[in-house]
């Protein structure tokens, strides 16, 4: 079972069932014992009343003299029965209530003893029967032994027991539900900080929160503090890494710039000049490509907020108008407010910058960018960005080379491919998709799908 409250509820339910089971069994036993005892007492009382009413008759037997006080003994099937037998089993007297019925009272008991036991009436009704052996002095110095049987139907007792049981079960069931319900509520309350921290972690992941809040219950403060420290160190690590790469690029490119400018302009004066120039180009491409690729994070750092797409597109458009001031470019942007990329800001900048720059470079005058959220799609490709232009488009052979995974950007085709190779690498880092097609505007239509929010 994966839920804490589920585990607790299940184990508490089990315990309650066990506890209530034992309690119910004990109460049931006590109730039955009490009932039996009271039935025993009732039968004793009936026996005493019967004995009191009995008198020896002319035949040396005993039987109740006159009308019985207990009316139930006079009504057939009333539930209270009595009979008197001799030691050898001969009936001396039977109560009118036994008329037409037969109770098997069992054998006699030794003189002076009594026996209380369950017997059956007419083989189907259960009765509690008291058998007692009495030595009766029927004449002076003449004792005769009689077996007195008194029985009472167990039906009222059984009905009472059933009522007691159903009432008890009802109460316990109610109690059970009440206990479980209050426990569930209690758990909800007690586990709220856990759910809260879970929610906060979700927010950190989504980027809408930078760290976990400090006000946690004592048991969770350690966890939250450690988590925050981890987030912080991770962010710092990424930043340090980027800075190092940036510095590395800087410190490599500046000497390259010095060499190039020291060589003077083109055309090359001699073969050596030409070779050095070519090698500078090559080194530059390697530095640029490898460092850019290493700096691309390829995934959101925890606690980093998602990056809004629309403002970045607007910034890029402004920048591109400075990069291509002499060209009469019309860059249309269509992106919903709040549409965001779940990843690194620098990566999105690099991706959109390359896509737009590429389109601007190769278009005649129009570039169209559309960013949209894909409904119900895979989370990794929820953001779709299409960039199209009215240029000449991209050759089929170049498309394949650009889309080929694992190919290095600095070994790729020139022209359109150069910018798109970097785009492809970033898309790969995020497990996104890249497609190249034809735009209704006439040029290339590049579609990328990325993790979005």
């Amino acid at each position: 079972m994966s839920s804490l409250s589920g585990r607790l509820l299940a184990s508490v339910s089990l315990l309650l069932i066990l506890f209530f089971g034992v309690t119910i069994a004990a109460l049931d036993a006590v109730f039955r014992d009490l009932s039996q005892r009271s039935i025993g007492e009732l039968l004793d009382a009936q026996l005493v009343a019967l004995l009191a009413a009995c008198e020896p008759d002319d035949h040396g037997n005993v039987q109740p003299a006159g009308a019985l006080a207990e009316t139930r003994l006079r009504q057939p099937g009333s539930g209270l029965y009595a009979q008197i037998r001799t030691r050898d089993g001969k009936f001396v007297w039977r109560s009118p209530s036994l008329l037409g019925s037969k109770v098997d009272f069992g054998g006699p008991v030794p003189a002076g003893e009594r026996r209380l036991e369950q017997r059956s009436l007419d083989d189907n009704m259960r009765v509690m029967a008291l058998t007692s052996s009495i030595n009766w002095e029927i004449a002076p110095a003449v004792n005769r032994e009689f077996i007195f049987n008194v029985a009472t139907s167990l039906a009222p007792y059984e009905a009472q027991l059933a009522r007691f049981r159903s009432q008890m079960l009802g109460w316990f069931l109610g109690l059970f539900v009440l206990l479980l319900g209050s426990l569930a509520l209690l758990l909800r309350w007690a586990l709220r900080p856990l759910r809260q921290i879970e929610m906060e972690i979700g927010e950190v992941e989504a980027g809408s929160r930078a760290s976990l809040s400090a006000s946690q219950p004592r048991e969770l403060t350690g966890l939250a503090a450690n988590m925050n420290a981890l987030l912080k160190s991770e962010r710092q690590r990424v930043e340090r890494y980027r800075n190092t790469l940036g510095n590395l690029a800087h410190s490599l490119k500046t000497p390259l710039a010095v060499i190039r400018s020291a060589l003077g302009g083109e055309p090359a004066i001699d073969r050596r000049h030409e070779i050095v120039n070519q090698q500078i180009d090559r080194m530059n491409a390697i530095v640029q490509h490898q460092l850019k690729r290493a700096a691309a994070s390829g995934g959101a750092v925890m606690g980093q907020s998602a990056v809004e797409v629309a403002p970045m597109l607007v910034e890029l458009r402004a920048a591109l108008s400075k990069v291509y001031p002499d060209r009469d470019l019309l860059i249309e942007i269509s992106a919903a407010d709040g549409l965001a990329f779940a990843g690194d800001r620098g990566d999105l900048f690099e991706l959109l910058g390359n896509l737009l720059d590429n389109a601007c470079k190769w278009c005649r005058s129009r570039v169209r960018v559309v960013a949209a959220r894909l409904p119900a799609a895979d989370a990794r490709t929820r953001l779709r960005i299409t960039v199209e232009d009215d240029g000449a488009g991209i050759e089929i052979a170049d498309r394949e080379r650009i889309l080929e995974r694992g190919a290095r950007a600095d070994e790729q085709v020139q022209g359109q491919g150069l910018g798109l190779a970097m785009v492809r690498e970033i898309v790969d880092l995020y497990d996104g998709t890249l497609e190249i097609g034809d735009s209704p505007l006439g040029g290339a239509l590049v579609t990328v799908c990325l993790p979005g929010r």
């Binding site: 060499i259 640029q288 700096a295 890029l316 400075k322 001031p325 002499d326």
Partner: protein
């Protein structure tokens, strides 16, 4: 045209100074941001080339401070950081163009010339006033159909006057921006070159393309083929 170079790498700075001077520019060089800010605010600069990673005052802040001080000359950023994020931030700080290291000198010169031309309100590389047309890329000047041979100083004066056609430009300004490092300031060399330019542009002396405003300076009176537009960033 006077160009300010702010670059902390000495070898690169010196090489830039040499090559821009050879290309006909008057060059000021600064090794850090503070020096750059001083030169940018105190000298009559036409264009600045600024490295982003500068000691004392970072390039981005330097550009912001220059713009805050009301300097509107074009700024070309020169940097090793070429991620798009850096590029956009650099262009947002008030610069006009962005060039990544290592660069080709030809590329740098082309960008510089394009920026200067645009800061004069010209969007195309060939600028035209009346029947005089000047190609900023090839430095070829034609009057009507005829190509005119100009010395490099004559070309620089004409380019300056044409880029700012219609404006009055003082002799002192011309001296400062074009000759500061080559001639004594109080020589009458400007007058000599203006005289030669007039003869070359207008051999018959019928059109008077360059007007002299006594005590104030010179003005190119030929009509611009393009009206001066606003600078792209408004700064």
């Amino acid at each position: 045209m006077r160009i300010l170079i702010v670059e902390d790498e000495q070898a690169l700075r010196e090489s830039l100074v040499t090559q821009l001077t050879a290309a006909g520019f008057t060059v000021d060089a600064a090794a850090d941001g503070e020096e750059g800010l001083y030169a940018g605010t105190e000298y009559p600069i036409d264009l600045a080339i600024i490295d982003l990673g500068l000691p004392k005052l970072p390039g981005m802040d330097l550009i912001r401070k220059l713009r805050e001080a009301g300097r509107s000359f074009p700024v070309l950023i020169l940097t090793a950081r070429d991620r798009w994020q850096d590029k956009v931030e650099g262009l947002q700080s008030g610069s006009d163009d962005y060039l990544a290291k290592p660069f080709h000198m030809q590329e740098l010169l082309a960008r510089v010339q394009a920026l200067l031309r645009r800061s004069g309100g010209w969007s195309q590389p060939v600028i035209q006033c009346g029947d005089v047309s000047l190609d900023t890329r090839s430095q070829i000047v034609t009057v009507g159909e005829k190509v005119i041979d100009l010395t490099s100083f004559e070309y620089r004066i004409l380019e300056f006057l044409m880029l700012r056609a219609g404006e009055v430009i003082s002799k002192a300004e011309l001296t400062e921006r074009l000759y500061a490092q080559d001639f004594e300031r109080d020589s009458n060399v400007i007058e000599v070159f203006i005289g030669r330019l007039r003869r070359k542009l207008d051999p018959e002396g019928s059109r008077q393309p360059i007007e002299t405003l006594r005590g104030r300076g010179y003005r190119l009176v030929l009509a611009r083929a393009e009206s001066p537009g606003m600078r792209a960033d408004g700064g």
